[in-house]
Every structure is written in structure tokens, then in C-alpha cells.
């Protein structure tokens, strides 16, 4: 809330502008850059990590030590949830769904699964 410093909120402005720049750069990388897909994914991920750092240190009082235990617990929980969301989604959604239906690849996988179940 209030009570720390009444000066110009430099940290917040820098963090805000930094976040905006990184977000726009990520959108441009995906939409307008024309880079090869692996490059796009890698660059977006790097920018995401930088932005997470900006948010945590410029906005979220990560360096305030008073409630260190709570901070650490929250961070660990956040990593746990993020891992579940990403790994879980990839695992769940890679079930052989493909836009290209005439190659038969996905169909075969499904068949194999069913045979496994019956055995």
C-alpha cells in the first residue's frame, strides 16, 4: 500500500515499460518476424522468463525479506502449478489429433491403444 517512498515510482515505470516492450516484441516475433518456428518459440520463452523476472523484482516486492517464508512457499507453489499446466496440457492433448486426416497416422495410434487395453 502506502508508506514506503513518496518519490517518483521509477521502478514501477521501468518495469511497466519493460513489460510492454517485451510483450509487443513477443507478439511481433510470432506474427511478423518470419523467423523459423523453433527460433520463434525459443525467443518467446526467453522473453517470458525475462518478463517474469521484471514482474517479480520490480512489482512484487520479492526482495523484501520480512515474509520470506511466505514468498518461498508461494514461488514453489507457482512453479508446481505451472509445471502441471504445461506438462499436463502437453501430455493430455497429444493424443494423436492431427489436422491432416488422410495420412492415417493418428488412427493407427488409436488402434494400438485399444489393443493394449484388451490384452
Amino acid at each position: 500500500m502506502s508508506g514506503h517512498s513518496e518519490g517518483f515510482p521509477k521502478k514501477h515505470i521501468v518495469g511497466f515499460l519493460g513489460s510492454m516492450v517485451l510483450t509487443i516484441a513477443a507478439a511481433w516475433a510470432a506474427v511478423g518476424s518470419g523467423l523459423p518456428t523453433p527460433w520463434i518459440i525459443a525467443s518467446i520463452m526467453v522473453m517470458a522468463v525475462i518478463q517474469a523476472g521484471i514482474q517479480l523484482f520490480m512489482f512484487m516486492h520479492m526482495t523484501e525479506t520480512e515474509s520470506g517464508g511466505i514468498q518461498v512457499g508461494n514461488m514453489l507453489h507457482a512453479f508446481f502449478i505451472a509445471a502441471i499446466i504445461i506438462a499436463g496440457s502437453i501430455w493430455t492433448m497429444s493424443f494423436g489429433y492431427a489436422h491432416n486426416h488422410d495420412d492415417g497416422g493418428s488412427g493407427e495410434m488409436e488402434m494400438e491403444n485399444h489393443q493394449d487395453m484388451e490384452e
Binding site: 500500500m1 515510482p9 507453489h77 493430455t92 492433448m93 493424443f95 491403444n113
Partner: protein, 649 residues
Amino acid sequence: MLDFLLNEFLVTGDPLIYGAMVSMVLVSIAIVYVLTYFKKWGYLWREWLTTVDHKKIGIMYIIAAIAMLFRGGVDALLMRTQLTLPGMEFLNSQHYNEIFTTHGTIMIIFMAMPFLIGLMNFVVPLQIGARDVAFPFLNAVSFWSFAIGALLFNLSFVIGGSPDAGWTNYAPMAGPNLNPGPNINYYLIGLQISGIGTLATGINFLATILKMRAPGMTLMRMPIFTWSSLITSLIITFAFPILTVALALMTIDRIFGSQFFTLTGDGMPMMWANLFWLWGHPEVYIVILPAFGIFSEVISTFARKQLFGYKAMVWSMVIIAGLSFVVWVHHFFTMGAGAGVNSFFSITTMLISVPTGVKIFNWLGTMYKGKIRFDTPMLWALGFIPCFVLGGVTGVMLAMAAADYQYHNTYFLVAHFHNVLIAGTVFGCFAGLTFWYPKMFGHKMNETLGKISFWFFLIGFNVCFLPMYFLGFAGMPRRTYSIEPEWMPLNVVSSVGAVLMAVGFAVFVYNIYYSFRYSPRETQGDAWDGRALEWATTTPVPFYNFATVPKVEGPEAYWLMKQKGKTTYDKNNLEPIHMPSDSGVPFIMMAFMFVAGFGLVWEWMIVAIAGLIGVLACMFIRSFDYDHGFHVSVEEIKETEEKARREEK
């Protein structure tokens, strides 16, 4: 222009909707007239629209939630009418789709959550001995973003057309190709705006409960409702960002032509279902855990015993919070992700019944050998246990992936989730409201009317939803506006139950009016011989809550204080109290947000940008606002407390 107004902007051609339009206009005129006639505009602005007091914000949440319960309930009755008289074409298929969509969305997002958040707002700071929440301004922002989101969503009914892809809003059905126009945008933007508020509430209460407890109140001495609010806030904080992202992606799909969830452009429609339920399942626990907390408080108070198995209760909630993030795929087993995925999520789902079962036995253990009083809040809690167990057992049936292929999308599922959500959440809201009503408004709700409404609602609820299990077994799919002849008798029974529930709700609302007129006023703060700190304050609660913050010496803080004859007014230890100033910025900011949202819904970018500039301007004003609040003088505290405590002695 006129052509656009009549053909696209306003919803035309249905007598029901014309009726709704007329009634909306009349009600609005009536409200404006009453406010002007009694010269209440200033009062409304000063006392309510600009307030940052957690108690008033809580009450506003609850009033809005009851209004939304009415709207969602009318939707339900319209659906029951259609299914009882399917040949009459009372609703056509499109209208039926819209009604079940708004029913589900409103009941979850705009009824269940605000009702519980309203109770949390009112009760949690009182229970932990705090004078407000950690971020009172943010709390007002939360409330107004919820109100604006709800307003926008409800507007769709008469302007532009309601969303019609179910409350789950699955792609590609909800995508721009199959569903052009503003209707789905209303869903996306309405939920987005109110979701921001919910997220802020989660962070706010997390900080409040962790940092603002009275001295001596360790985590394991907190009242159980506060514990449930803490866990709920934690789930909100980690689950709502997923909804924000999912809604944003689909909004970009619909408005700016991206292909995240499309069929044609290498998108992944089922990824919407995946993201939706990654949020949606934790959401289920967001609306049930506070209700569990309410039942625990009520049962302990009215059985006149300390809560049995407090630690087990806390750990069960922690485990439920963890498990809530690893079960989401059970909502779409039939996607066919394969045996490995389905088995995993089957087992995690069944695991959840273990901590939930522990809680049931804790409630039974609390009542065992207690001297039970059967006041209305206790009746709701007692009705909850068997009804909720039934919903839990059918939930375990649904958890079996192989069997789920039979139940999926049938009335069996509809019966199951109403059995948990109504018996759990709605009973919990009614129990909580009647329980804390004397603290909020200075008088109890009438017992006779309360019992009448309870029995109508309880019996109606079971008559309405038990037959649906059998309809599900008989193959009746959900979200259908026409039925086969063999499903007819049970549908009629179900509709009779729905009418009984409506009577119960009407009696409940009448009870609010009746109690306001005739209930004896509370002369002291402890209406039910309570055990937690909220009952230590006077009634009505002074705006600063506690004249002197009590020192907590054990669990059940107020129970111990009563035994030692202590109060929250220690004449010799008064100090000036620091309180936050009221502010009109949250209301104005969210009014701009409404403009922005309405612009986005209609894809009028200039309007949207103008609204967002207004929002940013409000944020800017707030950022450079160095108002540190004000201090309440010792004399004013003395005067207030002595006036409130005169009758007590």
C-alpha cells in the same frame, strides 16, 4: 441506423424478451424515481458507491448475488416449463440454448462466487481481529469489476443476443465461424472483467489473512471459515490466470482473427476445453470450500461444541486444494486421450473423495453428544450433509472413466453437479446468510419463515434432481429442448420440484422484508452464543470493527474471552485508529471499463480504446494519490462504543 437497431442491436421478435425489456425499463425508472423522491442520491454515493469498508462491500456482493440467483432461477424455471410442455414451443431451440448458457454462467460466476466472496468480505476481517482487508481500495475495485461484468453479461439478453454455447463455451461452437455476432463476446468480456476482480479478491484475502491477524492468532488458532477462505484465495490466485488467458485467446480469435481454437487454421479446439477445465475444476472448489467453512462454523456453534478434528479439517482442505489442480481431464474423458491419461485422472478424481469424506466425519463427530439447537442455519447444515454425500457418491461414479462414457452429457451429470452445487454451495450461502444476518443488519431472520423456506427448498431440491439421475440412465441428454415420450413423467416430477424450490426462494426473500419490519432488534453482539471473534464486536459493527484489538490466547478466541469476561473495548488502552479513506475512483474506473467492454463486444474499436484510456487515466490518478487515510480520535471511539454498549450492561 434504424435497421441496425432493430435487426442487430436490440433483440426482437420474442414476447418473453419484450416483457423483460419493459420490466427492466420500469424497474430502472422506479429506482431513479425513488432515489430522487427521497433525495437519496448523495447517500447512495457517499455510503455505498464510494465505500471501501469491507462490511458494506460484502453486503453489496450479497445483494447482487441474490438478484442473480433470481435471474438464474427464472432461467431454470423457463427450462423446466419447456421440458414439461415440449410440444408447445414455449422456447424455441435457439432461445433454449441461450437460457441454459446464461443459467449456468450466472449461477457459477455471478451468483455462487459473489455470494461466498460477500460472506468472506463481511466475516473474515472480523474473525481475525482486523479493521479492514489488506487493500481496501483494491477490494472496491474487485466489487465494481464484478458488478460491471455481471451488468454487461446480463445486458446481452436484450441487446445483441445472449451467448448460446453453454457455460463451458466450447470451441469451435463458440468460434467466429459457427457463432458470429456479439453474443459470445458478451460471455468472453463479461467473464474477463469480473474475473480480474475475483483474482484481485484472491490476492487481497491471501494478504489479509496472512498478514493482518490479531496478535496471538497463529494459523492453527484461526476460525475454520477463515482457513477455508485462505485456501480458497490461494486457489483463486493460481486458477484465475488460466481463465484470463483462455478468454483472451478466444477473444483474439473472435475479434482479431487468430486461430488458437479454430478447426480450419491449424488451431486446437479441444485446447479450449483443456484450458477451461484447468481453471474450471479448481473453480468448483472455490465455490465449495467456503461453504464447507460456513457449515463447520454453524455446526460447531449450534452443537455447542468445539469443532471435532480441527487439524484434520485444515489438512483436508490443503489436500483438496492440491488435488483440485490435477483432476481437470475428468470433464472430458470422452475426448479419448487414451487409457493412460484417463486412468491417471480417474484415480486423482477418486482420491478427492478421501479428504472430503474426512470432513463429513468431522461434522458428524462435532455433533456427536452435542446439545444441538435446531435454528434455521443449523437446518441448512443438517440438510447439506446427506444431500451432498449423494452428490459425492455419484461423483465417484462419474470419476470412473470407462463408465463415464455412458454418463457423459446425460441428465445423470446434470443431477450430479446440481446435487453438489446446490446442496453444498447454495445451502451454504443460505446457512451463512441466516447465521451472520444479525451481525450484518442488527436483527435475526424470522425463524418460522426461515424453516418454511428451508423445507420447501430441501424437498423441492430432491424432487427436482433425484429423477434426473434416472432420466440420465434412460438416455436423456443434457441441453436438449425436446424430449422423448418415455422421459415425460419424470420430467414433470422434476418440474414440480423446481416450483417448490422457487416457493422456498420466494419465502426466503419475503423473510428478508418481514424480518426488517418485525424482528426484534439485537441489543448485544453475540446473537447465537458464538465462538469466533466476529461475535465479540457490538451490533451494528462500528466501521473500525474493534476499538481495541483483542489478544488471542487460544483457539475459539471469543469463547475464551467470554469465559474471562473480556471485551473488545478496553477503556484504558484506546489509541487513535488509522482507517482508509473512501474513494470514487473504483466505481468510475469500472464505469470506463464497461464502456471498453461494450466496445469490444460490438467490435467498435474506437469505443473500446476510449474506455480503456479512461481506465488507464483512473489508474494514473490512483498511482499518484498519496491519501494515507484518516485517524479516528479516542473521543469518537469512546462515544461510539459507549452508545453501542449501553444496553449490554
